[in-house]
């Protein structure tokens, strides 16, 4: 099963490479299906000694929600892609499958090198998805993405080197044990944190997200936003065992960063008009919240154990819903009633409507945060983020409504929305966290929605709009990073004197030397010199 999960995408990719994509296209959705099996079936391990430094793969408690997300979201997005992608199918399939192989390996790997390997492959292959459009905007977005992704990867690499120097290619599960007493964030830890933060779109490394999502095709955006970014989170969970110092300044800093991102990104999203850009900012915002959760899980072993299932639910909830929303942008230009409903369900879920998966996740998260002894204001602010989220989704709703066009409702959208509603609940039941919301909890979930609706409606009525400056900012940054081409440097050459004045002078000298009187004088001078030397010596 594991082998199938790993090799299927690769084999399909190879087939694409050989130009067989037309015949095998139908397998595209199936490529990620084995992941679902891995997520729900009992744990199993597979050792691949012959690969790299010897790989060990298999699902475990940490990765199961990730695998489930991957299996569902990727397959359905793939199905959608089958019909959605009309141009450059071969290229799309290839990168789609390569990205899938990468992320599969990253999710399944149980050793550091394997994880990194999958992660890097995924990161690079995703570039091809972002660039699918081949437009100038796509290229720009791709470039920014690539730079940041690489930056992240070398940071991870730097961190890995430091760990690798001590432990070699260590099994991920044993990192905590290996490290013994984890004493604060060491340099390696910082490197890894920052490295994975790129994928996680943590402020200020988020800039690729709002650039990349609008230009990528909808299914690609769906998995980018829904699944791929989660790989960063998994990286954190894998490589950063909980700190032993409790709520230390670094943890607090992460919390503040996450919260800032949650609000900042939502506000930025409001400045955009492109639905996918809005969704991208929403993702940044939601990832900020996940950072807060991760920070809380870093407080200690107990907190980690407590928060891990909650994070899992978050992952599933956000991944599926966000994927559904992205697909919706492709399927719902004209909002009929059914479509409106289909769009509203995931949107409301993300906004944290009680009884929705989002509501469940938020409630659980707030409980978890409180138990992790995070300061009360942090929990409050975390809750308040629903307000901006809701506003942002209103904005999206508004934008989508205004967009003319015609599209077919794809069954994958329906299924995805359905799964988004159901699967996180099921998973919560599975891990024993499912509970009906209490009334206060429900109110907590509902008022931000109402409030946000009010703001949004009034805002809309007055025709206000925030300036679109996020793109400009990215462009400026990009220009800063771009290296201007210049003339190649060269060290001074060794020149052989030939046509130069010195050479001619030497030839003249040689001519003078060959005159008989000069020879004679030289002869006599040497004679006297030799004589003198001999006389002095005697």
């Amino acid at each position: 099963m594991i082998l199938l999960a790993l090799s299927l995408p690769l084999l399909l990719a190879l087939a694409c490479l050989l130009g067989q994509q037309h015949r095998l296209r139908w397998l595209l959705p199936a490529a990620s299906l084995p992941m679902i099996g891995l997520a729900v079936l009992p744990e199993s391990r597979l050792e691949l000694d012959w690969l790299l430094f010897g790989l060990e793969v298999g699902g475990d408690a940490v990765s199961r929600p990730f695998l489930l997300l991957l299996g569902i979201a990727w397959s359905l997005a793939g199905w959608h892609a089958l019909d959605y992608i009309r141009e450059r199918q071969r290229s799309f399939c290839l990168f789609w499958l390569l990205t899938l192989s990468g992320i599969s390996l990253a999710f399944l790997a149980q050793d550091a090198a394997g994880f990194y390997c999958g992660y890097a492959v995924m990161g690079l292959a995703a570039y091809g998805l972002i660039l699918h459009d081949r437009s100038a905007a796509a290229r720009r977005a791709g470039r920014v993405y690539l730079m940041l992704a690489l930056l992240g990867e070398v940071l991870i690499l730097a961190g890995l080197f430091q760990l690798g120097a001590r432990f070699g290619n260590f099994p991920l599960a044993e990192l905590g044990t290996l490290l013994g007493e984890p004493v604060g964030f060491q340099l390696a830890g910082w490197c890894l944190l920052a490295g994975f933060a790129v994928k996680m779109g943590t402020l200020p490394l988020h800039i690729w997200l709002p650039l990349a999502h609008p230009v990528a095709p909808a299914p690609a955006s769906a998995i980018l936003s829904g699944v791929i970014v989660k790989a960063g989170l998994l990286g954190w969970l894998r490589f950063l065992p909980p700190d032993m110092y409790g709520v230390s300044p670094p943890v607090l800093a992460m919390v503040m960063l996450g919260l800032t991102a949650a609000f900042y990104a939502a506000l930025m999203g409001l400045t955009r008009s492109e639905p996918k850009a809005i969704l991208a900012w929403s993702t940044v915002s939601q990832l900020g919240l996940m950072l807060v959760l991760f920070a809380a899980a870093s407080v200690g072993d107990v907190e980690r154990a407590l928060l891990l299932p909650i994070i899992g639910i978050w992952v599933l909830h956000h991944g599926l819903n966000k994927a559904a929303l992205f697909i919706a942008t492709a399927c719902a230009p004209t909002l009929t009633r059914w479509r409106l409903l289909l769009l509203a369900v995931p949107a409301l879920s993300i906004a944290g409507l009680p009884l929705s998966t989002g509501g469940l996740a938020k409630t659980l998260a707030k409980e978890g945060l409180t138990m992790a002894a995070l300061p009360g204001w942090a929990v409050t602010v975390f809750g308040l983020s629903s307000l901006t989220t809701a506003w942002l989704l209103w904005h999206l709703f508004d934008r989508l409504r205004q967009r003319p066009g015609d599209a077919r409702v794809h069954p994958a959208w329906l299924l995805l929305t359905l799964f988004a509603m159901v699967v996180p609940w099921l998973w919560a039941t599975h891990v024993g966290l499912a509970s009906w919301p209490t009334l206060p909890q429900s109110w907590d979930g509902i008022w931000p929605l109402l409030f946000a609706s009010a703001i949004a409606l009034s805002w809309q009525r007055r025709g206000w709009q925030l300036p679109d400056w996020a793109g400009m900012q990215a462009i400026r940054r990009e220009r800063f990073v771009k290296l201007e081409s210049a003339r190649p440097l060269s060290l001074p050459q060794i020149s052989i004197l030939r046509q130069y004045e010195a050479g001619r002078a030497l030839l003249r000298l040689e001519r003078q030397l060959s005159l008989v009187p000069v020879v004679g004088l030289g002869l006599l001078a040497l004679l006297l010199g030799l004589g003198l030397i001999l006389i002095i010596g005697m």
Binding site: L160, S485, L489
Partner: protein, 498 residues
């Protein structure tokens, strides 16, 4: 002096020499005979090397000794390091020969080309199997001699300008090497590669002399290994045909320099002594600076082959860096990069050659959209470029992993900075190429051009390219299996795998 089975290294060298001489004697017109001869020579040589490899596994020792001067022997032997380099270069020679046959299909002076080509590889084998520095030097200089006609092969003024620079650098380097060698000879007396520790007894009191010798030898090897600031011949040598570039960068010349540095640290001084004299730090820093400098310059090149050349400047220094950093892991990283860089870089040059031959493309800007017209070549190029960057699971990653972890273990965390910066820079100059190849539309001008490769040439050019690309991929992907370069190197260094 025995000419029996023990002298197998000699025969391996002679295979190439004889091939070269026969090719010269065949003359220009006997194309088919020449092709057969070249391939037969390459295959025979590879077979002999494999036999030797097996025999060494079985514990046989190979040694050939011919006294040249009183107390100085021409000594050929085979140890594991030898085999690593020899196998690599023999394999790549075969591939490059096939490629060159296709590449030079129509061009003049092929007899000369292939003749020197064989001699060049003979010299490389000599460098690999040299049992003492004296022998090493002989073949090292022979390599210079045999390569020069290849560099100037086109016979254009630019080619000769490049050839002149090449000579100026390599011969000056050779002289420095010679001086260092003689100094060492005068100091330590005759000897085979003075193995680890045997210089130690004479070290006390001679520290500064030994330092000076090391620097001289380092400069001597550094010229071919394109260490800063001795590298600038390498990009200029790009005027040569693509197989020559492949040869320079992957099979022979640059490798010989790097190999020399490895021998210098590992066998001549021994890491302990070199480190205690502060010499490894020197080399490591020089290598580090070279890595960065080469990458930065590569960024600025608009000519594809020049960009690749600067990339070599940068990449080859990994070998020196690894060996100079010391410790098991870093040494493995350095040595294994000898192979990895060879495989990857040869792929890149083959691809560059294919582009140039098929569509006359030399500039980076002209690569747009070539993924469509030349998918196979482009895939190979992509694999190799990613390998260069060190994207897992490519070979470059294996190297970087060992280097990075080794540097940490050896207490040289600054190396990680170098690696990080270099990876970023590598990406910065390779990824735009990939972006152009795959994600840009084909320019109209190129689209109008016809594929100039004939059918036979297509096979002869693309088959080797695919082969090396697959090998490069496998070297990384399958690093864990017995027989992989990593496996060999690990056993050579005598350590458990990481």
């Amino acid at each position: 002096m025995s000419f029996g089975w023990q002298a197998l290294p000699l025969y391996i060298i002679l295979v190439s020499v004889v091939t070269g001489i026969l090719v010269f004697m065949l003359g220009e017109q006997r194309q088919h005979t020449r092709t057969v001869l070249n391939l037969a020579g390459a295959i025979l040589k590879l077979a002999l090397i494999l036999i030797m490899l097996l025999a060494i596994q079985a514990g046989t020792t190979f040694e050939f000794r011919l006294p040249l001067l009183p107390g100085l022997d021409l000594l050929l032997h085979a140890d594991r390091l030898t085999m690593l380099f020899a196998t690599l270069s023999a394999l790549l020679w075969l591939v490059t020969t096939v490629y060159a046959i296709g590449y030079l299909e129509q061009s003049p002076n092929r007899a000369r080309f292939f003749g020197f080509f064989s001699l060049c590889v003979a010299a490389t084998m000599g460098v690999a199997s040299a049992g003492n520095l004296f022998t090493f030097f002989i073949f090292y200089e022979l390599l210079t001699l045999a390569t020069w006609p290849l560099v100037v092969h086109r016979g254009t003024p630019e080619a000769f300008a490049a050839g002149r620079i090449y000579l100026a650098y390599t011969l000056a380097g050779g002289i420095l090497l010679l001086v260092g060698l003689i100094w060492l000879h005068a100091l330590a007396g005759a000897g085979d590669f003075i193995l680890d520790g045997s210089l130690a007894p004479i070290a006390s009191g001679n520290e500064n002399a030994l330092r000076a010798i090391f620097v001289l030898l380092m400069l001597g090897f550094g010229v071919k290994a394109a260490l800063l600031p001795l590298h600038s011949w390498l990009p200029r040598a790009m005027v040569a045909p693509a197989p020559v570039s492949a040869l320079l960068h992957a099979v022979a010349v640059v490798k010989a320099g790097a190999f020399g540095l490895v021998r210098l640290i590992q066998d001549v001084f021994g890491f302990q002594l070199a480190a205690s004299l502060g010499l490894t730090d020197l080399l490591a820093w020089v290598a580090g600076v070279t890595i960065i400098y080469g990458s930065v310059l590569a960024l600025k090149q608009s000519d594809l082959k020049r960009r690749l050349a600067y990339s070599t400047v940068s990449q080859v220094s990994y070998i020196a860096l690894g060996v100079a950093t010391g410790g098991v892991l870093a040494t493995i990283g350095g040595l294994v990069h000898l192979v990895h860089q060879g495989l990857t870089k040869i792929t890149l040059f083959f691809c560059a050659g294919n582009y140039a031959e098929a569509y006359g493309i030399h500039k980076v800007e002209d690569l747009d959209g070539l993924g469509e017209c030349m998918p196979v070549t482009s895939v190979c190029f992509t694999i190799a470029a990613l390998g260069m960057i060190g994207v897992p699971p490519m070979a470059g990653f294996i190297t970087k992993w060992h280097l990075g972890a080794g540097a940490m273990a050896a207490g040289a965390p600054w190396v990680i900075l170098i690696l990080v910066a270099s990876t970023l820079l590598n990406a910065a100059y390779f990824l735009p190429l990939l972006q152009r190849i795959w994600f840009r539309p084909l320019t109209e001008e190129i689209a109008r051009r016809d594929d100039r490769l004939g059918r036979i040439r297509q096979v002869a050019l693309i088959a080797p390219t695919v082969f090396v690309a697959v090998t490069a991929l496998a070297a990384g992907l399958l690093a864990g299996i017995p027989g992989s370069p990593l496996f060999w190197v690990t056993r050579m260094v005598g350590a458990e795998g990481p």
